[in-house]
């Protein structure tokens, strides 16, 4: 981790031609703050769009770009625009999906960073490039949102002048995209597990409540617990309710035993 963040931060100060310690220092502290934000997906109310909007804005500011966006793969493997640094980009990105070409798609497909100037992009992406140019962008790059072998999307950066992104700048973009990806994958895994735990927890609780309800009914109606279970089951079916909910009502004494013993009116 330290290798990735230290090196490019130093590189940028030199390569971006600041020649100014104040700017370099500011960039470094922006970068440090951005990495902390990127690692923090454990907040109670994690918001994917806000998180990726942050990645767009941070990377744009730190690397020096006019616009940035993040696209993620949807369940069918297509790319979908999830966040961007400005609204104007949306038109462009939407177009990118429809035409199925452009730097984002390429970075996503190959898992490698991609960049091209105005002339080159016209050759590589004949449909996409003219639209980008109309919107005022001359240099475009994309880095994959990738962790180990998983590529989940790409981070897109556009510049309005002809200065290409330096290797150090691309390195920063790659590192930021990678940290964001790891954080997202972890967040997904935790959310998924948390949901499964909740389901199993509920099922186990239901089981206990159903057994308690069987015992209560059996006592009140002088039946066996098996007969009590048949009555619970039948009542749930006749009233189109979940067995667990009926059992809960019995245990909470919201449902009288007589109601369960009674034959439904025919």
């Amino acid at each position: 981790m330290s290798e990735v963040s230290d090196r490019p931060a130093g590189g940028v100060a030199g390569s971006a031609g600041d020649g100014n310690d104040g700017n370099a220092g500011r960039r470094e502290s922006l970068l440090a703050r951005a990495f902390v934000r990127l690692a923090d997906t454990l907040a109670d109310e994690f918001d994917l769009v806000e998180f990726l909007h942050g990645l767009s804005v941070d990377s744009m500011e730190i690397i020096g770009a006019e616009a940035a966006s993040v696209m993620l793969a949807d369940t069918r493997g297509g790319l979908r625009l999830v966040a961007s640094s400005e609204e104007r980009m949306r038109v462009l990105e939407l177009f990118e999906i429809q035409s199925a070409q452009g730097p984002c798609l390429e970075a996503f497909g190959t898992g490698q960073a991609v960049q091209a100037g105005a002339a080159e992009s016209r050759l590589r992406w004949p449909v996409f490039a003219p639209r980008a140019s109309e919107a005022g962008f001359r240099v475009m790059c994309a880095v994959p949102m990738r962790a180990r072998t998983d590529t989940i999307g790409a981070l897109n950066l556009f510049r309005g002048n002809d200065e290409p992104f330096s290797d150090a700048e691309l390195e920063i973009a790659r590192a930021m995209a990678q940290v964001a990806t790891i954080a997202l994958i972890q967040e997904r895994a935790i959310r998924e597990r948390s949901l499964l735990v909740e389901q199993l927890q509920t099922a186990l609780h239901s089981r206990v409540v159903i057994e308690q309800a069987k015992g209560m009914l059996a006592e009140h109606l002088s039946t066996t617990v098996d007969e009590a279970f048949q009555l619970l089951n039948k009542y749930a079916r006749d009233h189109n309710r979940r067995l667990t909910d009926v059992a809960r009502d019995v245990v909470d004494r919201k449902l009288s035993h007589d109601a369960l013993a009674r034959r439904p009116a025919e």
Binding site: I190, R193, S194, L195, L196, V197, E198, Q199, L200, Q201, A203, L204, H205, R207, V208, E211, Q212, A213, K214, G215, M216, L217, A218, E219, H220, V225, V251
Partner: protein
């Protein structure tokens, strides 16, 4: 310090080295055997709970293993129940000293060969479905290495239980209850009957059942069976 994924891979390899595992109870048993042979403990269990209500034992290894967890189920107190209620590990390097004030009955009743106990939740955050319950016949803290192993072993057990639930939303609960057996279910049926006899809420009824077992020295399951078969009443 070994990396977390390497540690996990090592435990998975050790647990599966004797051939493919097709049943969840087999996996649970292998995890317990691994813990006893590799984590400097005397015994352990994997238990399934609904909040603080015991559902049953999934597996166990070592002398007294079932007794330690079972005793907590019967008494309704102990580190295992606290772990499941809070989702936080409970570490007791010296059970007699660390546990006496919190669980006075359990710490006295526990077999003399149990001097230290360590409980790890099977869950995510505060949500918990069971406990990995380890104990040792000598006091002392788990080493950092064994602590890390225990946390990961608990996660492996949890994941195995969770992914039994496929397809999502349709829990493979029947399969789990088959593993833990139905003999403990009778406690909840008896709880319902006692609640009806005394017009009380189930937790109060369960407390009475536990107290009756404790006083008579009989197993709570035997008394529960007597209640369900109407040989014992609580309102007389």
């Amino acid at each position: 310090m070994v990396r977390k994924d390497e540690r996990r891979a090592r435990i998975v390899a050790a647990v599966t080295e004797h051939g493919e595992i097709t049943r969840v109870d087999e996996l649970m048993q292998r995890i317990c055997l691994f813990a006893v042979s590799e984590m400097a403990i005397s015994g352990c269990t994997l238990a399934l709970l609904a909040g603080t209500e015991p559902v049953g034992l999934l597996a166990g290894a070592g002398p007294h293993s079932s007794t330690v967890t079972e005793l907590q189920f019967q008494l309704g107190e102990g580190p295992c129940l606290e772990t499941c209620a809070s989702g936080i590990p409970v570490l007791l390097p010296d059970l007699a000293i660390d546990g006496a004030a919190r669980w006075p009955v359990f710490t006295v009743a526990v077999p003399s060969g149990v001097r230290a106990e360590f409980c790890f939740p099977l869950g995510v955050g505060p949500r918990c479905i069971g406990v990995f319950d380890l104990y040792r016949d000598e006091p002392g803290m788990l080493s950092d290495d064994h602590l890390a192993d225990a946390l990961i072993a608990a996660d492996i057990a949890r994941d195995a239980l969770l992914y039994l639930q496929e397809p999502p939303g349709h829990p493979g609960l029947a399969a789990l209850l088959e593993v833990v057996g139905m003999d403990r279910i009778v406690v909840h049926q008896a709880t319902g009957m006692i609640a009806a006899q005394l017009d009380e809420a189930p937790p109060a009824a369960l407390a009475r059942l536990r107290a009756a077992a404790f006083e008579s020295g009989r197993s709570i399951y035997d008394i529960a069976q007597d209640v369900v078969e109407r040989r014992v009443r609580f309102d007389e």
